[in-house]
Amino acid sequence: MKTLPLSGAKITASLILLLSFAWSAASEGPAGSTAAPAPAAPAATGVGDPPLPLPAFAALGSSFAQTNRLGELGWSEDQINAFVHGVKAALHGQAIAMDDTARQVSAEMARRLQQGEERRRQQSADDFSQPGRLERYLKEKRKRYAMERSDSGLVYFIQPGQAGVRPRPGDTVIVSCVATAADGKTKLPQLSNDHAHIKLENLLPGFMEGLQMMTVDSQARFILPPALSFGDGEWPPGVDRGTPLLFMVTLHEVISAESNPANPP
């Protein structure tokens, strides 16, 4: 389940699917990686299909390994060969069953991947903990995207919608948002949502402030510095602690506190 950027205990993390081998079509391997020699003959995918170049399949394999960070697992050459053998066996209809040992290995691999993930996150967070790093980042973003900064430190750009109605504390909003990490590319599905109904006070401080700047149907881009998101509290899994968070937001509707019988004016 995905949620909006809620504060405190309402965080619901998306699980990290370790060794899931789910293909991420959008991902690419790092530039400059050295590819091993690949078969040169074309391959066909099926009867009647034009032959496809084998080097492309080799590249797919490399991308697969890099995307899933298999390099961080610390396998020996024999372990790699055994893994490839298992893949081949499954593709040939002779899958090797998971037994207890295999499950233990899987858990160990998951642990190693998680460690790598934590290491990277820590590295990234450390960058923003360096003096002046956050300020430089926000300044650069503000200049590039013509964004304003509020007294609290929220960085924002708002594309006006219908004039008039705007949310106030106590109101419920219907809002959509797409969250990304500080790099502006890494999607944070655990902080994104579509047409969520939510009470203003239950949102992150910067998000709450930004929404009050909006009128119905307006769209906005927010950058929440750490102090206006999770601060010193618990950060959701998969979100780099101490980093700025980016949100693309649409305010669809405001349901006033007064219109709810439970909240008399």
Binding site: E148, I158, Q212, S256
Partner: protein, 744 residues
């Protein structure tokens, strides 16, 4: 009506007057007329009369319900812009009734439309009230926020109907800050604010109270013959005929709005001399800037046109040469200034230090209409050469303000540019770009705004250089210009978050960088400024500022704002106390001691962009504050004759020690023009120890002593002694000044 096409009789009179003018002026008049006539009215969203006709035609043949609804909503707003308020109301109410009849009440889209239509309904009623009272029954208190005394409407039907609609609207949409703001204003207009405003919608009057009780500055425009109801425009206050009295030149942005020249008679009256001055046919123009471009001792005028109109704004500027005999001649073409880009901002500065004043025009480029900024080098023979590209100043952006000062005190004037679509630019003048050091050589400018820390706010309008803390280093003020609706202004007063862009005050750190001191100085406010200027309200030696506010939207009823400089540390909002808070659209502003009594008065052009959004200009008469002053009229010899860019340091003895007061000769902020003569408040200073004038062209600092307080002197560059000029004054009309002051 301003901006509208003249009647045949008026046209005949205009044609006869134009025939008596010099050929070059006649050519400009004909050119302007031809552009107006050949323009496609549908390219200009402010030509509402034509838009109404077109919309009616389109509506008649449209069958798609969605389109029809949209077109009819547009029609309502255009009818309001034309001033057909009752037709607009009728159309809007018909729409409301049809929507209620055909669309289920639980339809969310209907509910949203209802909110818009109800707001339009309220606006129709408010406009009726405004026109019946503030315009047709105008008095000095009209539309002064917070509205009190004579500003309370005599004919209250419009406002009372608006109150009914807005109350209903707020019942449905309590978070509608626009409606809340308008409701409070509507109650003010019927004299029932704050007492009868429902508490949950009340905006506390304390939020509008002044931080300092400056005396009230009565609006005496009507008493002295300067009460005209027009659209947006610019203003110059200057002694055009060198008779010692400051005259007024005023433009209107309507395509047919005549540039007007008012002669100060020196007795409390003004006489319009537009026709005698040979200015008939010089129409349109949102802003004006004066300068003695040919160093003949007579102040000339630049008219800036086409602003906001994008592809429909391809108008020329006009350079009007002052002939020294009460007349002007349009010399745009012969001077080499005939060009056609929309603009409302330009600055005169001697970038190459040759003693001839040059001109930089900041143009408005948009996606489908690019026109780079222009730098016109003065050739010293009455002509100019455009050289922006070779100096790296062919900048592209939607520029709304440009000012000049020597921010780094290196003797070369720099530029600061404000734009709506890009970070601000601080262009450091680096001198000649190559080995050729002659004035005609390519020049080099470097944008150092980022390093200097002066790029905010992202969307801005007016700007100015000034030394607000008298430390001898020019500081920068730039005002934000972006709101969602008038609710942002309400939010700013209420201390709620809003998306409106605020003003920024940058203090010069004297090392090439600036510090944003907006918050500490109390100016990090949503001012939504268009016109602006600065001066010294109480002659305490600290520069104050006044901003004309608003935008073309008729619902954008926000006060113009006045801020008093409290000792170079903070600014105090004195809008209500001084009676400066006109709610209509504020444009060109000038500070000047019009009656020569020593205290600066303020002239403010009020009026909007829409055809019917006319308003009465204001002349705020300074009641005096008992402080001392000196006026200095500088005359350049090696420098440009108007002395633009010369730096003045006045050193006075306060009794408790020395004090420095710094000024730079220019016409002030980007939208409006103060006189070039410097009117300098001295506070309670007892004597002037010396005046130092730094002339950038020669690098010489001229020291002048023996000046007496409360006098006007002419100081010629390099001359051994100043010349004491006679300064006759007249009192403002007693009746106008005796208005019962309304204390906030």
């Amino acid at each position: 009506m301003p901006g509208s096409v003249p009647t045949p009789a008026q046209q005949a009179k205009i044609a006869a007057a134009i025939l008596r003018e010099p050929e070059s002026t006649r050519r400009m008049a004909a050119l302007l007329q031809q552009i107006n006539q050949s323009a496609n009215p549908m390219d200009n969203p402010f030509r509402s009369t034509e838009q109404v006709g077109k919309l009616r035609e389109t509506i008649a043949r449209t069958t798609d319900l969605g389109q029809l609804l949209n077109l009819r909503m547009q029609l309502t707003l255009q009818l309001l812009q034309v001033g057909l308020n009752e037709d607009a109301l009728k159309e809007n109410e018909a729409l409301l009734a049809e929507l209620r009849r055909y669309v289920p009440e639980d339809n969310k889209d209907l509910l949203r439309l209802l909110a818009q239509l109800l707001t339009t309904n309220a606006l129709c009623h408010l406009r009726m009230g405004e026109q019946a009272n503030c315009l047709l029954n105008h008095n000095a208190d009209s539309c002064l926020f917070p509205i009190q005394g004579g500003g309370v409407h005599q004919l209250q039907q419009g406002s009372r109907d608006a109150i009914t609609v807005l109350t209903d609207l707020l019942g449905k949409y309590p978070g509608d800050l626009r409606a809340r703001w308008l409701l409070n204003i509507a109650y003010m207009t019927v004299g029932e604010y704050p007492g009868k405003v429902p508490p949950r919608w009340l905006i506390d009057p304390k939020l509008f109270a002044s931080d300092y009780d400056i005396k009230r500055f009565p609006d005496v425009a009507a008493s002295v013959g300067l009460d005209f109801e027009e659209l947006a425009g610019g203003v110059i206050i200057e002694d055009f005929d060198n008779d010692g009295w400051l005259d007024i030149m005023k433009s209107g942005w309507g395509l047919n709005d005549q540039l007007r020249y008012f002669h100060n008679n020196g007795d409390g009256t003004f006489t319009e001399r537009t026709e005698q001055a040979g200015l008939i046919g010089e129409v349109s123009g949102l802003n004006l800037k004066q300068c003695d471009y040919n160093n003949d001792g007579w102040m000339d005028v630049l008219v800036l046109r086409g602003a906001w109109l994008r592809t429909a704004g391809h108008y020329p500027v006009s350079l009007l040469r002052n002939n020294g005999d009460g007349t002007f001649t349009d010399v745009t073409e012969s001077a080499g200034l005939l060009r056609f880009h929309p603009t409302n901002s330009a600055v005169w500065f001697d970038y190459n230090g040759d003693g001839w004043i040059d001109l930089f025009i900041a143009n408005e480029s948009s996606v489908r209409d690019t026109g780079a900024c222009e730098l016109f080098r003065n050739n010293g023979d009455g002509t100019f050469t455009e050289c922006a590209a070779e100096c790296g100043l062919d900048l592209v952006g939607y520029f709304k303000g440009v000012v000049s000062a020597d921010y780094n005190n290196d003797g070369r004037p720099d530029l600061y540019l404000s734009a709506q679509d890009r970070p601000k630019m601080l262009l450091r003048n680096d001198g000649p770009a190559g080995p050729d050091r002659s004035p005609r050589a390519p020049w080099h400018f470097t944008d150092v705004a980022d390093e200097a820390g002066v790029i905010d706010p992202p969307c801005s309008f007016s700007c100015w250089f000034w030394d607000y803390d008298n430390d001898g280093w020019p500081d920068i003020m730039v005002t934000g210009y972006s709101v969602q609706d008038v609710g942002d202004v309400a939010a700013d007063y209420l201390g709620l978050p809003h998306a409106g862009q605020k003003a920024h005050l940058y203090h010069n750190n004297r090392d090439g960088t600036f510090e944003d001191v907006s918050k500490a100085a109390g100016v990090n406010k949503l001012l939504h400024t268009m016109g602006c200027n600065f001066g010294d309200l109480d002659n305490d030696g600290w520069l104050d500022f006044y901003v004309g506010t608003g935008n073309p939207e008729l619902a954008m009823l926000i006060p113009n704002r006045m801020f008093r400089n409290d000792g170079g540390r903070r600014f105090q909002d004195v809008t209500a106390a001084g009676g400066f808070g006109n709610l209509q659209k504020g444009h060109g502003i000038a500070f000047a001691d019009i009656n020569n009594d020593g205290a600066q008065d303020i002239f403010s052009v009020v009026g909007g962009a829409a055809e019917a959004d006319t308003a009465h200009s204001q002349l705020f008469a300074n009641p005096g504050h008992g402080n001392n002053w000196i006026k200095l009229k500088l005359e350049g010899v090696k420098s440009n004759r108007a002395a633009i860019g010369a730096r003045i340091k006045v050193v006075v003895d306060t009794g408790a020690g020395e004090r420095e007061i710094h000024r730079t000769v220019d016409s002030g902020a980007s939208f409006g023009a103060n006189p070039m003569r410097q009117e300098i408040g001295l506070g309670q200073a007892r004597t002037i120890k010396r005046v130092e004038i730094f002339w950038p062209v020669t690098g010489v600092t001229q020291v002048v002593t023996g000046l007496a307080i409360n006098h006007l002197y002419q100081i010629r560059e390099g001359a051994a002694a100043p010349t004491l000029l006679e300064l006759r004054s007249f009192p403002w009309p007693a009746a106008a000044m005796a208005l019962d002051p309304v204390k906030p």
